[in-house]
Symmetry: C2
């Protein structure tokens, strides 16, 4: 079994050694030794749980900076969707590989994704070595006749999905209530239940989405999804901006996982997530980046800063969303939501660990590491990224980085000419 | 005269050579050559105007992460002011040097500062080589009897100030209307007018400040400052959150310089700056970081992202505050406000230039460089920082960096024991 020994690293305020055996944190102590381990010198570094990004569209790295300063619907309809219709599986592979490169550099080792060309994404994720919940996107624009073809594609893809290794997980991602028919939503929920898959969906991102759903069904998107039997504790609901009291009750009833994307919501003027309501009701929140073309990066450190200070200004309460609490939104909260023994660096947990550089200028002085990580740091404070016991980045170097960037740039050039 | 030739750098979309002679951009063209110049290979880099930070308290790097998630007044009164009372000139020198190190790494070459121990700051700024408008802070807590001593200190300091080189500028920084008496404010304005100094002041940062001023004087802070003859085009007013229509007229009448600090205003729940009102009235805004203990960094790239997306969400208009416009808030707007031939890379302008690394992951793909800089990049995209024709950072290396960090850490240890 492969072993890694991290020597003399700062962990929760004390200098410790951490022994990783296989994919697990096997021992934490002082003066640990083992013959056969790869040694990492942890002096000047601090160990923390690696970050989990619970809502993104990784391959949209292809469209970073392609269109900004626009509203959600024209941005999608006039700019993004026409571009996406041109993408091949290879393009998505290149975009996903590059997006995961950015994530690894930012200490992120899990992405809950929703995008097109499932295989392109799966191949990239397997190569890059992060945990990847690969959502097969369903959109039928309320044309139920499209369901049989969707079903066929999904069944085929589901059967092939095991070949991408243990870290790539097949899930279903019906886009939203305004793009997917009831029949398709119902089928997706049944298939997910039968195969024990996660369901990933945009919910109540904009006020218009809620108004349209109310007009059509008399119900909010969440109440409608509840009524048609879509909801369960396998559902990861992204955005969740425009919720009413009944909606909050539904979140609790089904133990939904909530992915909050403050930057995207601000940039697209979608609305202000009611962070204090979630706190008040004891509903854990996961902070996520959304795609890199509505953000426009995949840096959860920056995202946490927005998540921490948006509630402060929106509720005029600077004590809300303190740094310690916010750090859990990308570590412990998503790990618990996914049922993973992770989110904390402790014996028996999965070895999903980052080492941050205490000599990074944003982490000096070290009065309070949590505060520095949330309010001061960016991705570049991450020195080493470990996922499932494997070192994906060390001293900010990632194997094959130049080739990944070159391939991505070639894809961009090709798309420009298309 | 010292010359620098930047070869084959991307400038406004084309590959150019830039010749710097002394402190000035002397020529921009193709295939420039000169015998005696230091050559910088600009391939893979883009040249941009260096950033100017129009409101900060640089030495508060000492207190980064020291106290967070608190309201402004208890934060100041219970945490910051007691710590500040212990600081020596040497402590402030160390804090300022370190803060400027962070700024240079983030492409910032001008700070409009307000802090204590003028000489400590001036010495640090001169050594580090950035433009530093060094505000001598005035606080008398409405005890006019303190004025004679303040006057004496200021006059002495003003006389000695020329010894810190051409880039360190003496200015007066009366803290705010709630901490400085009318008599002292009037004297400061007179002294500033006589010596042609800038005046740097916090104005209408919180609603409470406005309410208190209305109770006491019947006027808003800005209207009160207008009435007592404090205002002129030498005034840099920081925060400016809670303005009414009359206040906006005053801003225009006196051509005040406005320093907007979105992160600090959000983090401390001070209020939402009316960006769209400034736009509507054609008043240029300068975006600034505030001090590194209320932010908690000095990264104007991150600050611009907040400045760009806070108006979008607060006005529910995603087209507001577009990237191109926001980039000017840290370049052209402050340069114009200060009367400096700067803020654009062009012949005849001061050589305040940054080179950003187009291979930085956040600048790939390069669909739109302005968008990437505002929405995707962080400080670490800056490869080279040039101020007044001198290279302060090249390939992210700054002369003496290790010694500066070591000195800063020693100061932190000393303060912890104090």
């Amino acid at each position: 079994m492969q072993k890694i020994l991290i020597k003399n690293v700062l962990l929760a305020g004390s200098v410790k050694d951490i022994l990783i055996a296989g994919n697990t944190v096997s021992r934490i102590g002082s003066d640990l030794n083992t013959d056969s381990a790869e040694i990492i010198n942890g002096s000047g570094l601090a160990a923390l749980p690696a970050l989990y990004n619970m809502h993104t569209h990784t391959a949209m790295s292809l469209f970073r900076g392609y269109a900004d300063d626009m509203a959600l619907m024209p941005w999608l309809q006039e700019k993004i969707w026409p571009q996406e219709s041109k993408l091949t599986e290879e393009d998505v592979y290149q975009g996903t590989r590059f997006g995961i490169l950015e994530m690894i550099k930012a200490g992120t080792v899990l992405a809950n994704d929703m995008y097109w060309h499932w295989k392109g994404e799966a191949r990239a994720a397997q190569e890059m070595g992060i945990r990847f919940i690969n959502g097969f996107t369903l959109i039928d624009f309320h044309d139920e006749a499209r369901l049989p073809e969707l079903k066929k594609d999904i069944q085929q893809q589901y059967e092939d999905s095991s070949q991408y290794g243990e870290l790539v997980e097949f899930s279903l991602a019906p886009h939203a209530v305004y793009t997917v028919s009831e029949k398709t939503l119902r089928w997706a929920a049944e298939f997910a239940s039968e195969k024990q898959l996660k369901l990933h969906i945009h919910v109540s991102e904009t006020e218009q989405e809620v108004i349209d759903c109310l007009r059509k069904t008399g119900l909010t998107p969440l109440q409608y999804l509840d009524k048609i039997g879509f909801l369960g504790n396998n559902v990861i609901a992204a955005h969740m901006v425009w919720l009413d009291d009944k909606d909050f009750d539904i979140v609790k009833k089904h133990n939904l996982t909530v992915a909050h994307c403050p930057v995207s919501n601000m940039k697209l003027s979608s609305g202000i997530f009611k962070y204090s309501e979630f706190l008040k009701r004891g509903i854990p929140v996961c902070v996520a980046t959304d795609g890199p073309s509505s953000n426009n990066n995949l840096d959860l450190f920056e995202e946490m800063k927005f998540a921490a200070i948006l509630p402060k200004i929106s509720m005029m309460n600077p004590e809300l969303a303190a740094a310690e609490n916010i750090l859990q939104t990308t570590t412990l909260n998503p790990a618990k939501a996914l049922g993973l023994a992770a989110g904390e660096v402790k014996e028996g947990n999965l070895a999903d660990i980052i080492l941050v550089d205490l000599d990074n200028i944003n982490l000096i002085p070290n009065h309070n590491l949590s505060s520095n990580l949330v309010y001061s740091a960016h991705a570049d404070c991450v020195h080493t990224t470990i996922c499932n016991g494997k070192i994906l980045m060390h001293n900010r170097r990632i194997k094959g980085e130049q080739e990944i960037i070159a391939g991505f740039r070639k894809t961009i050039e090709k798309l420009r000419k298309a």
